[in-house]
Each structure stands twice: as structure tokens, then as C-alpha cells.
């Protein structure tokens, strides 16, 4: 080829230089390798759109052969994992509200009596349907199960009952989001995702920007203390975060008519806690990052698992144990539960608390790391 237009050795020089620079930029290199690995592992192993072993509470008013068979049948379907019996309806409600149980199976008092009489009694299956994707398959399985589960018990004189349409009826009661509107689940989730993205990245950038431009030195040469600088730089982003949440809430209400069952004050307090946790992480990133690009890269490293493992994109209970453990660490996971709980279930502080303290704990752990590295960057 004409060396004037294209010299192979010149071109190889450029390629070579690019690789040398890539090799030196360890964080970018890490992203090149890390992102496909993370995505593959998460999508390949962790993400399961057919969640099984969903925690189920039983509310049994009629202890009979039939009840036992039905519960055993549910368990054998692999969709339901019984976590215990609820003493009464209040307790069952609470288990659903706190998210401890995804389902409550209720067997009414006169169930076996009416079944034997051929009156097709109803078995009540209450579902926490905030995330329609998490419950859909399990509900479908129950309907099928109703046809077959009692085949062994209905022998002799009762054999006729086994014929279609089945000896009993399954009444599904999808709570909190009865029409299975996807937006009801996604829109509150978006609040958390938006906050995670902007809060972590913006604080990360705000401080690395000062360092990159050399203005940090100037700031520190004035009598301003590190505490004043840090907090002074964070507060504007708290305001931005609250503004973002208000925008999302307003739009959610206007465009998607997402219900607001709970107390707005509770919600905003939880939002503040979540913002604080993300800002702390952003600050920690900024004390680790050498420049703005690295701060952005670190944000993505955190953002990716957050969005995939928190239950935002895929049902949390569809993930294998290890992924759930990782998910439990992430503040977004808990924030999603809080927001969905407050908006859709009308949860108050007592139900919010179990998901609030893990966020606070995350914040403490991250700030400990941040403080450790922060000192070394001043001196």
C-alpha cells in the first residue's frame, strides 16, 4: 500500500501505543474484563425470570387430610416454600406487608366438610403482587395443581369429586397491585435507580473535578476545614436528589396513576437515608479515584450489580442464594422494598425499619473506608 496514505508500521505504532495506554489504565482494563464477566455471571446464573421457592405462610383453620395434601402439593410444585404458620389474619397481613412472605395460603374452617359435600369450597391464595413478574408463574402453577393434588385422597365414594372442574376452587387474591400493572412496580423502583446513578456519580465527580483542576489545593489553602469543604459540597446534591424524587413521584402519579398508600413523610425520610448512603459512596469513590473518568467508571461498577441484583430488573427471589446475599448488601435492594412498601402497601415506620438499618450500616461501612483513604489524599 502507498506509504503516503497508509503506512503499516505507522499504523502499528498507533495500535501499539493504544494498548500500552490501556494496560497502564488499570481501571479501564478492569472494566474491559470485569463488565463481561459480571454481566455473564449475573444474566447467566443469577437472573431467573421463573422464581421458585417463594416464601409462603399458611393460615390453616381446618386441619384435615385434604389440607395436608394441598400444602404438600404446593410444596412439591417447587414454587412455594413454607416459612411457617400465621396465628391469625393480622399476622398474615403483616408478613405480607413486611415482605417476609410472598404468599399466604388460607384454608377456611369448613373446608373439608364442604369439600366432602361437593360444594367446591374456596382455597384463598393471597399474593404480594407488587412485582407481577415474581408471582405470575407460581399462581399459574396453583391453578393447575388444584386439578390433581387431591387425586390420592378422593377415592371410593369421593372419586366423583375428582372430576373437572375439581373438588375445590382456588381463589387468588393479588394484593397491593391487583391489576398487575407493571408500572406500579417499575416506577417506584426507578426512584432508587435514578438516585443511585446521579448521587454516586455527581459527588464522585464534584470532588475529583476540584482535584483534577487543581482548585482543591487552593480551597485547602484557605481556612476552610475539610469538614466544611466535604459537607458544603454534598448538600447541593441532597437538594438535587430530593428534587429528582419529587419529579418522579409527581410524574408517577400524573402519568401512571401509581397509588400512594403510605405516608409521604416516611417516604422522604427513607429517601434522605438512601441519598446519604449514596453520597457517602460517591465521596469514597472520589477519594479513591485519580480523576473524573475513574470516578465514572467506579460508579458503573457499582451501578451494574445494583440494577441487576436489587430486584429492580428481575424478581429478587428468583436469584440463587449467593446473588441474594450480594443483593442484601446493596442499599438499592432495601430502598426498593421500602418505596414499594410505602407506596403500594401503605407501610409505616415499623415495616420500613427492617430495611432501613441495612442502608445505614452500608453507609457506616463505606464511610469508614472513605475516611481511611481520605486522609492520605490531603497529605
Amino acid at each position: 500500500m502507498n506509504a503516503r496514505w497508509f503506512s503499516l508500521s505507522r499504523w502499528l505504532g498507533i495500535v501499539g501505543k493504544e494498548f500500552i495506554q490501556l494496560k497502564r489504565d488499570r481501571l479501564t482494563f478492569g472494566m474491559i474484563v470485569g463488565i463481561p464477566v459480571i454481566q455473564l455471571v449475573l444474566f447467566g446464573f443469577a437472573i431467573n425470570s421463573d422464581p421458585k421457592h417463594l416464601p409462603t405462610a399458611a393460615l390453616i383453620a381446618d386441619r384435615s387430610e385434604f389440607s395436608r395434601s394441598i400444602l404438600a402439593g404446593l410444596r412439591n410444585s417447587d414454587y412455594f416454600a413454607f416459612i411457617g404458620e400465621a396465628a391469625d389474619e393480622q399476622q398474615a397481613d403483616r408478613m405480607l406487608a413486611e415482605g417476609k412472605a410472598q404468599f399466604v395460603v388460607s384454608i377456611p374452617a369448613d373446608f373439608s366438610q364442604r369439600l366432602v359435600r361437593g360444594e367446591r369450597p374456596a382455597l384463598l391464595l393471597e399474593a404480594d403482587a407488587t412485582d407481577p413478574a415474581a408471582t405470575g408463574n407460581a399462581i399459574a402453577a396453583v391453578n393447575q395443581l388444584a386439578q390433581t393434588v387431591l387425586a390420592h385422597d378422593l377415592t371410593g365414594p369421593l372419586a366423583a369429586l375428582a372430576a373437572t372442574p375439581g373438588a375445590f376452587e382456588v381463589r387468588i387474591h393479588p394484593r397491593y397491585n391487583p391489576e398487575a400493572v407493571t408500572q406500579y412496580n417499575i416506577v417506584p423502583g426507578l426512584m432508587g435507580v435514578i438516585l443511585t446513578m446521579t448521587m454516586v456519580m455527581m459527588t464522585g465527580l464534584a470532588i475529583t473535578r476540584e482535584r483534577e483542576r487543581g482548585t482543591m489545593e487552593n480551597l485547602l489553602a484557605t481556612p476552610a476545614t475539610a469538614l466544611e469543604v466535604m459537607t458544603g459540597k454534598i448538600v447541593p446534591y441532597v437538594v438535587i436528589g430530593l428534587l429528582q424524587i419529587t419529579i418522579v413521584l409527581t410524574l408517577a402519579w400524573l402519568l401512571f396513576t401509581v397509588p400512594m398508600q403510605g405516608n409521604l413523610l416516611t417516604l422522604y425520610l427513607a429517601v434522605l437515608l438512601f441519598i446519604a448512603a449514596n453520597l457517602t459512596l460517591g465521596l469514597t469513590f472520589s477519594s479513591l479515584a485519580q480523576n473524573q473518568l475513574q470516578a465514572v467508571q467506579m460508579t458503573f461498577f457499582f451501578f451494574l450489580p445494583s440494577i441487576l441484583l436489587s430486584g429492580f430488573m428481575f424478581p429478587f427471589r428468583g436469584m440463587p442464594n449467593w446473588a441474594q446475599v450480594v443483593g442484601e448488601v446493596l442499599p438499592l435492594t432495601h430502598f426498593l422494598r421500602i418505596v414499594r412498601g410505602v407506596l403500594l402497601k401503605g407501610n409505616g415506620w415499623s415495616e420500613v425499619f427492617p430495611d432501613a438499618w441495612p442502608i445505614a450500616l452500608f453507609m457506616l461501612a463505606v464511610s469508614a473506608v472513605g475516611l481511611r483513604f481520605w486522609r492520605s489524599t490531603l497529605d
Binding site: 483542576r213 487543581g214 489545593e217 487552593n218 489553602a221 484557605t222 481556612p223 476552610a224 497529605d379
Partner: protein, 318 residues
């Protein structure tokens, strides 16, 4: 002289300052005394420890060891008070380019908690001659104006001591001249200035100089004292075919430096008698005009650098 009176006149007084960055010993046993109203020039090659030293003086870095005072305040314990009373100008322009000139000055005024900050900012703008363009972004200023803005910002809180880290790098000669006139005006008002620079003409405008190399302060005093302390000999040669002569001179062991200044060659050595002996045959052969002149500061600094380099090689060999 009475010790007590002299003591009150000392603005910077530090001893035995050391600073390490990892395995890099950036500043070694720095001892420095600067008096009120002095312009003290801090010289030395890049990476020799000038910036680190200045940062330790203004409380931005904590020395690993050593002690001393700045404006009578302890440089380790009283860093907050030092920051309040010292004006520090960073090597790189470090004001906010996305703020206007006025906003930058107002911000700095608030950081120092100045009363009548608005008034001070306006008079600073007047003094700078930037009243008309005060609402322009600082990033839009040229190098010389950025430097003037930085100086004005450093002076807002009326510091008694100015620490300037290579303030004139990348600034044109006229702006440099004006800048130094301003420094002398400040010094005349009793403000002490410590300024680092690479320019020899600026070094000549300082009252006192310090030369730092590899973290060690090698010489301190007036320009005259420093030149005299090294007792160098310099010959100025004019004539034909100087580049061939320069090559021959460089081969002589007694010749330390050969530098061409236009049509003149400066030949410098440390040992006058032996240098004369070595030069004699060349003088006879070459002809031209040979004249003994006073060595310049630059010759002395290069001599110090070479001496330190030679020491290091012997130390490494041993």
C-alpha cells in the same frame, strides 16, 4: 545586633524539615530564615522539592520531622491560623474557571470570613483594572491576567506573608516585569514574599536566594554571597570558530561549563590557577578576545548541580 529584636523580625524560621512521599525523600533537613519585608527567591530544578517546601510552610502538608514558625505560628500545630494569615499562590492556576472573576474573588473573601468582602472585592477589581470584565469567566483570561487575578485573590485577606509557587511560569516578559514591580511595592510595605522561580532575571530581583536540589538547600544568601561562596572563575571569549573551541574546551578536566551567549563563550571552572594553566595554550593558539568576568548566578547554580551530581555518583560507586 540584639537577638530579641532580630527574632521579632523573622517571618519564616524553620529547621530540620523533612518530608517523604513513599520512598521519595522530597525535602531533606530544610532550614530557612526569612525576614520581614524580604523577597526570598527559591530556586532549583523541577522536582527538587520547592513546592513541597512551600506547602509545608503554609500548612498544606505536615512535615515528617522538624519544627519552626511562620509569622510566629507553629507550622505543625497552628496550620489553621497560618492559612488565615498567609497568602499562597499555587503553581498552576487554581481558581474556578467556570466562575466569573468577581465570583472567584467573592468566594475567596468569604472563605477568609472577611468583613466588607464586597467592598474589598470591588477595590481589588479596581486595582487590577478588571472592573469592566469582572463578569467574564476566569477561564477566558489570558495567562498574564490569570496570574494577576490569582495574586489579587491571594492579597484579599491582607496577608503578611506571600508564598508564591512559580507565579510567572508561562507569562510574557512585560507582565512578568509588572508582576515583580508589584512584589517590590508589597515588600516595601513590609510584606514578606517567598517566591519560587526558574528565571535568573527574577532571581536577581530577589533580596535573598535559596538554591534547593534533590530536597536539600545547597546555598542561601544574597545573590552576591552565593556567587562569592562558590569562588568560580569565568572567562568570556569572543572570536572566530567558537563552536570548535567549545568542543575542545569541554574536553578539559578543569573546565566545568562552556556556554554560548550569542557570539560570546563563557568558560567556567572552580580552580582558577589550574584553569588558567589549561587555558593558556588555547589562548595562544586561538587568539580572539579573552576576558575574566564575574560568574553569573546561573553558572553558580549549574556548578552546584554538577557538584551534587558528582557526589551522588561517587556515593553510588562506594
Amino acid at each position: 545586633m540584639n537577638q530579641g529584636v532580630a527574632g521579632s523580625d523573622v517571618v519564616i524560621d524553620v529547621r530540620g524539615l523533612n518530608k517523604h512521599f513513599g520512598s521519595n525523600h522530597a525535602v531533606k533537613d530544610l532550614a530557612l530564615t526569612v525576614r520581614r519585608g524580604e523577597i526570598f527567591g527559591f530556586l532549583g530544578p523541577n522536582g527538587s522539592g520547592k513546592t513541597t517546601s512551600i506547602r509545608m510552610l503554609c500548612g498544606l502538608l505536615t512535615p515528617d520531622s522538624g519544627e519552626g514558625t511562620c509569622l510566629g505560628l507553629d507550622i505543625v500545630r497552628d496550620t489553621r491560623e497560618i492559612k488565615r494569615q498567609v497568602g499562597y499562590m499555587t503553581q498552576r492556576f487554581s481558581f474556578w474557571e467556570d466562575l466569573t472573576i468577581r465570583e472567584n474573588l467573592r468566594f475567596v473573601a468569604r472563605m477568609y470570613g472577611l468583613n466588607d468582602s464586597a467592598g474589598r472585592v470591588e477595590s481589588a477589581l479596581d486595582h487590577l483594572g478588571l472592573k469592566q470584565s469582572a463578569d467574564k469567566l476566569a477561564g477566558a483570561l489570558s495567562g498574564g491576567w490569570k496570574q494577576r487575578l490569582a495574586l489579587a485573590a491571594c492579597l484579599l485577606h491582607e496577608p503578611q506573608l506571600l508564598l508564591l509557587d512559580e507565579p510567572t511560569a508561562g507569562v510574557d516578559p512585560k507582565a512578568r516585569r509588572d508582576f515583580w514591580d508589584e512584589l517590590h511595592a508589597l515588600a516595601a510595605r513590609g510584606i514578606t514574599v517567598l517566591v519560587s522561580t526558574h528565571y535568573m532575571d527574577e532571581a536577581e530581583r530577589c533580596h535573598k536566594l535559596g538554591y534547593i536540589l534533590d530536597g536539600r538547600l545547597l546555598a542561601q544568601g544574597t545573590a552576591k554571597e552565593i556567587v562569592a561562596s562558590q569562588s568560580l572563575v569565568t572567562w568570556a571569549v569572543t572570536g572566530d570558530d567558537l563552536s570548535a573551541l567549545a568542543d575542545r574546551l569541554r574536553k578539559l578536566s578543569t573546565v566545568e561549563q562552556v556556554a554560548a551567549f550569542g557570539s560570546t563563550l563563557h568558560v567556567t571552572g572552580a580552580d582558577a590557577a589550574r584553569l588558567d594553566a589549561d587555558l593558556a595554550p588555547l589562548k595562544a593558539e586561538q587568539g580572539g578576545h579573552w576576558q575574566r568576568i564575574d560568574p553569573g548566578l546561573e553558572d553558580v547554580f549549574i556548578h552546584l548541580m554538577r557538584a551534587a551530581g558528582a557526589e551522588e555518583t561517587t556515593a553510588a560507586a562506594a
